[in-house]
């Protein structure tokens, strides 16, 4: 029940629409498949960064600025929760768009972007606190690998926010319709992946006993 049937005269269709036709070999859209393929590869990227962090997290040198001292678990739990809820809001945006409730969809899109921004803001705040407490990027290897890992994640979230805001601006210009449902879904996939990576990072980096 997911695709609007398209008329035969829709030669205007983009490749995206061509692919949405059952005429693709697997019956799925090229764009969606492309995003999943990309997400598969992103697993390896974060795997490498997490492994590097795991290797270096105890190397604090002569300083005593390590994980146990620096982390503020309550604070990070709140921002993790925020990110988790943003996964919900994007999914609600998609279902709203599917049933053509543009206004609600727009609200949920904006909410997701705001929640994401709160998360990033929380990260920035956390980093500034660490810096003020003496843990800079190059202070010790724990710091470097921690900031690199969370920094890459933060950049991913920011890129996601840019996607979402672009969709939001499109909707403000009246161009968001249920035909873009797949595009929003693809953005949603990316967003969920970023959330899932944070689930892993939060557990392994913050919650595992040091």
């Amino acid at each position: 029940m997911r695709r609007w049937p398209l008329t035969e005269t829709s030669v205007t269709e983009s490749h995206q629409e061509h692919a949405e036709h059952p005429e693709t070999t697997l019956g799925v859209s090229n764009d969606k498949l492309g995003m999943w393929v990309f997400l598969g590869s992103d697993c390896l990227l974060f795997g490498g960064l997490i492994s590097t962090y795991m290797l270096y997290k105890d190397r604090i040198g002569p300083t005593d600025l390590g994980a146990e001292e620096m982390f503020d678990i309550p604070f990070t739990s709140v921002s993790s929760f925020v990110l988790l809820m943003s996964s919900l809001t994007i999914v609600l945006a998609i279902t709203a768009l599917r049933r053509n409730d543009i206004r609600r969809s727009r609200i949920w899109i904006l909410s997701t972007a705001i929640l994401g921004a709160i998360f990033v803001g929380g990260q920035v705040y956390e980093f500034t606190v660490f810096y003020r407490e003496g843990l800079g990027y190059t202070t010790n290897l724990f710091g470097t690998s921690f900031f690199t890992l969370t920094g890459f994640h933060g950049v991913h979230v920011t890129v996601g926010i840019i996607f979402l805001m672009s969709m939001y601006i499109q909707s403000m210009r009246g161009k968001l319709t249920s035909a873009q449902e797949e595009r929003l879904e693809i953005i949603g996939l990316y967003w969920h992946f970023v959330d899932v990576v944070w689930i892993v990072i939060f557990t392994i980096v913050y919650l595992f006993p040091q």
Binding site: T7, V11, H15, N30, S41, S178
Partner: protein, 676 residues
Amino acid sequence: MAIVEKEEASGELEIGEAVTSEEKPLGAFTRPRGGNGWKDWLFTVDHKKIGIMYGAAGLLFFVIGGIYALFVRLQLARPANTILSAETYNQVFTMHGVVMIFLAAIPLAAAFANYLLPLQIGARDVAFPRLNAFSFWAFLGGGLFLLSSMFIGGWWENAPDGGWFAYAPNTGVIFSPSKGLDFFAIGLQITGIASLVGAINLIVTVLNMRSPGMTLMKMPVLSWMLFIVQLLLLFAMPVISVALFLLTFDRLFDANFYNVAEGADPLLWQHLFWIFGHPEVYILVLPSFGVISEIIPTFSRKPIFGYPFMVFSGITIGFLGWGVWAHHMFTSGIGPVAVAAFSVSTMFIAVPTGVKILNWLATMWGGRIRFSTPMLYATAVIAMFTIGGLSGVTHALAAADTQQTDTYYIVAHFHYVIFGGIILGFFGGFHFWWPKMFGYFLSEKQGKLGFWVMVLGFNITFGPQHILGLQGMSRRIQTYSQGQGFDLWNLVSTIGSFLIALATLMFVINILTSWRAFKAGKTPAPGPDPWDARSLEWMTASPVPEHNFDEVIQVERQDEFWHRKWGKNEKGEVVRRATAEEVAHDGSNTNVHLPAPSYWPLIAASGLPIIGYGLVYSLWLCIVGGLLILGGLYGWVFEPVDDPNAEGDHHDHDGDKTNLTLDEGSDATNEEVAID
């Protein structure tokens, strides 16, 4: 993938059709009209043109990398030679490796993949044509960025000098203060983006755009090998990306990922690099295996022996390749347990390759073989790769490898598998598909002569290096002293290298003279199927028309094209059913809908090397590059895939993908759409 025909423009709106309006697109597009002006090449999204550009670039970089090799060999021809200083020598051999692997071998494979894969599966183009163009321009930008290190700041002052696998901490700022390794790290990141994005493209293409009836197990072996390669690229590129990011952060931002004095582990780089590096060598060799798996059945006039085994051994190689990386690290102190485990896994991986070799030989056995140039090359690949593989198996034994590592024995091994396995295969592929891609034959006589010079030269160059290695000559040394017993074979090796250079020159001359002979009418047009081949790319005109096929091909079995030409009579004998010209499409259906060219991929890709220069020299440039990328991406996303102003096409609104034709089923409130 459906071939969508353009509708004749009609004056009336049908139900569900959007009100159309003339819209100025975001830029000045030109519709491809089979033209070959420079703009058509610069803005093309056609996989065939992109493939040809990859091939031309790959060949050019192969020559450049080869010139580096000649200088290395000249320096080593005599003991205590002084042609290259030590600092320069380090840069030259590093650039030789980097250029050959990343700028020659990978793009040559990409050339075959881009040109042939859509054709072999009966598709009209790849899944994301503009992304394809972006891949090529990003690769070219990264490659030129890397090569510019050769002369920026003076000749051979700032080229990377840490070897192609750039072991940290040697490649950190302390031990490698020149900018060379920054060029290395950033250049490879850029080409890595190109490869990753290309891999996504081709994976989706293979999964989702096959001709009706073409199941995965009916695809030609080349398509399978290329598909596996894309999956390997997809998962391996992020790992080297991490390694290079860490190196870049070390060098530019004083991170200490590889700085042992600050507590870093010296093996981190090695692990990350080789986790990428080993799948990388299968990325390099599997395309060539695919190429010869097409050539050998054609010229043996027999189907490939054991098709499922060919496919599954390829999959196995791809999978097992992830479990052997530390065999590049046997002497790095990883401990006896790890060494033993990786030694065993490395021995395992010889098995699927052996399966392939046996299958190729079994294909040839009992066939009526024609030793045209492509077949000569393909046969040579089997022989040379076997030799290289055997020396590789000796490396798998960790105890033996402890003696062999970092000697010329290793150099001999990998040149036998890389040059013997990959480059020879690609040259065979060039000769095989040249008539299809360009519409004229390469000279057989010159081809055969060139083949013999190349194989002779190659063996003279690298054969003696086995001996040198076993005698103890270290690799990556700028010179050696007299009286160690290395003199003779080094000289022989150098002479061989010039024969390789001669053979390459002969190939280039072959291209030019064959082209002239064809233009002068002295050689015949090859027609769609000059070799009586088996797969779908031969089922259309030569050179391949822009739209590939005239109609959708319903595939019923493997080697579909061949079976349409040949059948079996009641006696079970193979008899001709139709000529190739009767079966093949002649390219006359010019009514096929094509994706419009675009310059946004080029703009977006151009930002990458600019960011690179910015990181090395001035961060302001990064902003410029970043804006180019951002602007390019926005222009790209909001550009319709199809040119709205082309005649015969319906239009999009505001040049925007968002306002597509909606049908009766929607209750869209978009006031721009008029629904009757």
